[in-house]
């Protein structure tokens, strides 16, 4: 299958790559660009482990074709922390022990980031509603919801 | 002498006897002594000289770790049970 040259922006950097038209963004991120922070759980849009932002919108990267990112902005988990420190969401996930195996964590953090951009002071119900597209099998979600609410409070103050 | 409990699954070989006092300071000796009284029981418990893979021994409520070499106390309770694992 001939390859297509795609020019895009990932985590604020101009990136270009070659891919087949049948490759998902998830596959290209992980296998071709070495950005393995975005995880694969089901590859059919039902678990949210592959959540990224595309032009600021929360998407399952397994449902986006890599060629669709041409000329657009992709944000992945790798772009969140600065060299100096973790993002408040990342920090709160650690403080609240909101991860056990951690495989769903990048997806949850990206989804939570999108939530807090849209709604900086969500209620518990709003947090649960927004995150219902991300599956976690280890934590029972209790500490994840607490971590997101706590991060929201910290980010509000900042 | 230790008290050996004979489960419902071993009782066909013991004629219904469910508890018996047996001399022996290790499981190996106890099983050998059991065999003298209840022929055939050794084959149900041992394979190639050690405990069968589907047999574990509990002594005073604790799963034994040293197989047939496990020491047995004077008044210990001995049970042969299925091994447990986890998930």
């Amino acid at each position: 299958m001939p390859k297509i040259h795609v020019q895009t922006r990932i985590n604020g950097e101009d990136i270009d790559f070659l891919c087949e038209s049948r490759q998902s963004l998830l596959e290209v991120l992980r296998d071709d660009l070495g950005l393995t922070g975005t995880k694969e759980g089901c590859s059919n849009g039902n678990c949210g482990a592959c959540s990224v932002l595309l032009d600021g919108v929360l998407v399952d990267s397994c449902l986006v074709l890599a060629v669709e990112t041409a000329g657009r902005e992709v944000s992945t988990i790798e772009g969140l922390a600065t060299p100096a420190q973790l993002h408040p969401l990342q920090q709160k996930f650690l403080e609240h022990a909101a991860l056990q195996c951690g495989i769903c964590t990048p997806g949850f953090i990206m989804a939570a980031k999108a939530l807090l951009t849209n709604n900086p002071k969500p209620t518990e119900h709003q947090v649960r509603y927004w995150l219902a597209g991300n599956l976690c099998r280890c934590t029972g979600y209790d500490k994840i919801v607490r971590a997101v609410l706590d991060a929201a409070a910290v980010m509000e103050k900042a | 002498m230790a008290i050996v409990f004979l489960s419902a699954m071993l009782q066909p070989l013991t004629g219904g006897v469910s508890q018996v006092r047996v001399a022996g300071r290790t499981i190996r000796t106890i099983i050998n002594n059991l065999e003298e009284r209840f022929p055939g029981i050794k084959d149900r418990l041992l394979q190639d000289g050690d405990l069968r893979p589907d047999v574990a021994v509990a002594i005073d409520g604790e799963t034994a770790l040293d197989g047939v070499a496990e020491p047995v106390g004077e008044d210990s309770e001995v049970h042969f049970i299925p091994p447990i694992s986890g998930g």
Binding site: C42, C47, L94, I103, C104, C138, G140 | -
Partner: protein, 768 residues
């Protein structure tokens, strides 16, 4: 957030886990993230039939596809021997294990592996799969435990005969094993009872549902050495099983455990590792295989569907005098369901003088079952705890009071014979009775409250730990327990406590089979208990060596001070004269002599060289675990949907080393139990095809399905562990199904005898 108890400095606090930054930034390397130079991608061809004979396999067309570097079938594997081998958690039959990894002459479930391809891209590998030609002779499938047990049922294994009450028989059957446990005289017990309840229950096949699919990367080198990288609960189990299946000495197999995205018992036995290895040998390059989510559902190890009968009898005063149960578990395509554990757990919250429990291990044309968090116990508790609830109702007693009256304690006997050591069941019942949740009345229509209890053994097994002292007084702790839920932290915390150093000074790393002594799986609620035990012992070994060094040094100094004097003989310093407390060593015979831990570390090179503490553990004194749960629900009378209003999980945790992760284990187990109770099941067509093999239709709980899960950590320290630790990970999944069934009954007046209690089922009961 740290609150050390008066007793401990580190144990009981809530520090950040050492691998935290790696996991929240996505940097941690899970098995699927593995990349090696020249790596190929593997895909597995799987049977479309639930039961069939393989007549022929033709791989020629697949081999010809450009980009395909190897195609394998069972012919590329050594012939598996029909014998038991000790390959990790428990003994397994090598032939059955190997036949499950790749089918021999028959396929026994839809999804059973028959061939595999390695190619330069996963897409090419998948294309090539479609070109492998397999000729099957389709056979009728057996898809339900009761059907499989009938005399006229088609047989999965022509040579399999039933082991009846411990004796091998000649009876060819799908019943692999019939177990029986008896205590006292159940017939008499039932005659003495004033109230007898008898019920039958069904549960469906349920999956562990870990979000990360199975994966394996293998490199079979030109020198004959096999390297495996995999997401596994136990690198040493993978090593042993792969060595056995591939006919290699254990020393020729090196397994590196990657970070793992959930296991719950389902990532212990090998599936992909031998496939990747054989592909690698044939292709001469590393090969990585990752399962798709459909493969996860069709071809890994779910937990058994079951049919269970329970009969319990009590006197008017509430004492339970007799109990009987018959547990029929689907083992899947090969024998070995956890029905034995189910039998031993089912009545274990109670002291009942007369009991009989029968267990049946039955094969069916579904994937071979594997462990799932307290394997066997949840099915059993659904049945028994529902009957206990009904007993309480008939006796006019509060359901927790009935449990309190009959609760098991130290010295009471289990149905399989042994007596309980120090256990904490009654403490959990008391805590539940006294909890504000239980005292708060539940008001409103269609609402109900249910309670249930559960028991799980926990295991001990083997662990190895090494602690290397660094010159700056920090230490490196090397262990082999893959960290699925925060155990790097809980193990490091125990070492820090024993060493008397801050938690931050202990750097734990998890290594593979080349780097540490044998270590059993992360599972069985054993890791904080047994690997923590080894860490504690390794820390004591470090202190012992430091005391020896100091004794030598101080004795030498005394030599100088007392040179030529008679008193010299009385002031020899031995290691027994060196004490350690609060980070400092002191000399009992000379108050002037002391040295801090950090100072000893700094002077190692001048005091005898490097200090490495080591220990292995195979602990006894495993404390069993108990849980008692309370749940409030609201049932929609029009749809049958059950909404959870409030959930409180009480558990005896021994001693919570890191309370956040203990709470996390409880919350996670509870939510898996909720999914099991309300929605999760494998739905099969008549031909044995699972029709809901995706997360859309295999419906696990989401954030929107749940409230916060309140946990109550009751601490009855386990006398068998230096810090009183009891395993906590598994028992939380045992009560929820029954607790919800009892709550739904309380809300609707209808007894639930089938799990899942999905809206359709609940509605059908409401309309009865």
């Amino acid at each position: 957030m740290a609150e050390a108890t008066a007793e401990y400095k580190v144990i009981g606090t809530r520090p950040i886990r050492p691998d935290g930054a790696d996991k929240v930034t996505g940097r941690a390397v899970y098995g699927g993230d593995m990349r090696l130079t020249g790596m190929l991608h593997g895909k597995v061809l799987r049977s479309p039939h639930a039961h069939a004979r393989i007549k022929s396999i033709n791989t020629a067309k697949a081999e010809a596809v450009p980009g395909v570097k190897a195609v394998i079938t069972v012919k590329d594997f050594p012939v598996a021997e029909d014998r038991m081998a000790n390959l990790g958690e428990m003994a397994v039959n090598v032939k059955l294990l190997s036949n499950n990894v790749i089918a021999a002459d028959k396929v026994l479930y839809k999804g059973h592996a028959v061939a595999a391809v390695a190619a330069t891209s996963p897409h090419i590998a998948e294309e090539a799969l479609g070109l492998i030609e397999v000729e099957y002779e389709v056979l009728p499938p057996v898809l339900h435990v009761l059907d499989a047990m009938k005399d006229e049922a088609p047989l999965l294994h022509e040579s399999m005969t039933t082991t009846e009450l411990g004796q091998k028989t000649d009876k060819h059957s799908n019943i692999a094993n019939h177990l029986r446990f008896v205590l006292g005289d159940p017939a008499q017990g039932f005659r003495d009872a004033d109230v007898v309840i008898e019920r039958e229950f069904d549960t469906a096949t349920v999956h562990q549902g870990y979000i990360e699919p199975h994966n394996a990367t293998a490199l079979w080198n030109e020198d004959g050495h096999l390297y495996i990288w995999t997401s596994t609960q136990g690198a040493f189990v993978v090593q042993r099983q792969a060595a056995e299946i591939l006919g290699l000495p254990v020393s020729q197999v090196s397994v590196t455990p990657c970070e793992i995205g959930g296991g719950f018992g389902g990532k212990i036995s090998v599936y992909l590792e031998p496939m990747a290895a054989v592909l690698s040998r044939k292709a001469g390059r590393p090969v990585k295989i990752i399962m798709s989510r459909i493969e996860e559902f069709e071809a890994t190890g779910p937990t058994p569907a079951s049919h269970i009968k329970v009969k319990m009898g009590a006197k008017k005063d509430g004492s339970i005098v007799a109990a009987e149960a018959s547990l029929m578990y689907e083992a899947g395509a090969f024998p070995g369901s956890p029905v034995g554990a189910g039998c031993m757990c089912i009545f274990s919250p109670y002291a009942i003088p007369n009991m009989q429990v029968d267990g049946y291990d039955v094969v069916v044309n579904k994937p071979k079952t594997a462990a799932y968090r307290a394997p066997g116990a949840t099915n059993a508790a659904f049945a028994s705890e529902t009957v206990v609830d009904e007993l309480a109702e008939k006796l006019g007693m509060d359901p927790l009071e009935l449990r309190r009256l009959n609760g098991a304690k130290e010295g009471d006997r289990r149905v399989d014979g042994p007596t309980f050591p120090r256990i904490g069941y009654l403490e959990t019942v008391h805590a539940a009775l006294e909890h504000e949740h239980y005292a708060t009345p539940l008001t409103g229509p269609n609402r109900g409250r249910g309670v249930a209890s559960g028991f799980w053994f926990n295991v001990g097994f083997q662990s190895s730990v090494v602690i290397n002292v660094n010159a700056d007084g920090t230490v490196s702790l090397v262990e082999g327990s893959t960290d699925i839920g925060g155990t790097r932290a809980s193990i490091a915390m125990q070492a820090a406590e024993t060493l008397g150093v801050p938690y931050e000074d202990v750097r734990p790393t998890v290594v593979g089979t080349d780097g540490i002594g044998f270590t059993d799986v992360t599972g069985g609620s054993r890791t904080t208990f047994a690997t923590g035990y080894a860490a504690h012992e390794a820390a004591l070994d470090v202190l012992r060596q430091m005391k020896e060094r100091l004794a030598r040094r101080w004795d030498g100094e005394m030599e100088k001070e007392f040179e030529g004097q008679a008193e010299r003989a009385t002031v020899r310093i031995t290691p027994d004269d060196v004490t350690y407390a609060d980070g400092a060593f002191k000399c009992a015979k000379d108050a002037g002599k002391s040295m801090a831990f950090k100072e000893v570390a700094a002077q190692m090179a001048r005091m005898g060289g490097p200090i490495t503490g080591r220990a292995t553990s195979q602990p006894r004194g495993i404390g069993g675990a108990y849980a008692t749960h309370i749940v409030d629900v609201e049932v929609d009378p029009d749809t049958g949907k059950v909404t959870i209003l409030r959930y409180t999980a009480v558990q005896d945790v021994g001693r919570a080393v890191h309370p956040s992760y203990v709470e996390g284990q409880i919350q996670g187990g509870v939510v898996q139990g909720i999914g099991w109770a309300l929605n999760e099941e494998f739905v099969y067509s008549d031909s044995g095809n699972m029709v809901n093999s995706s997360f859309l239709d295999y419906r696990m709980p989401t954030t929107l399905d749940l409230p916060m899960i309140d946990t109550v950590l009751v601490e009855v320290p386990n006398p068998g562990h230096p810090y009183g630790v009891r395993g906590v990970g598994e028992v939380p999944i045992v009560p929820p199904v029954a607790a919800l069934a009892n709550a739904i009954y309380n809300a609707t007046g209808k007894r639930m005898t089938h799990a899942p209690m999905s809206p359709g089922y609940v509605l059908s009961k409401l309309l009865e």
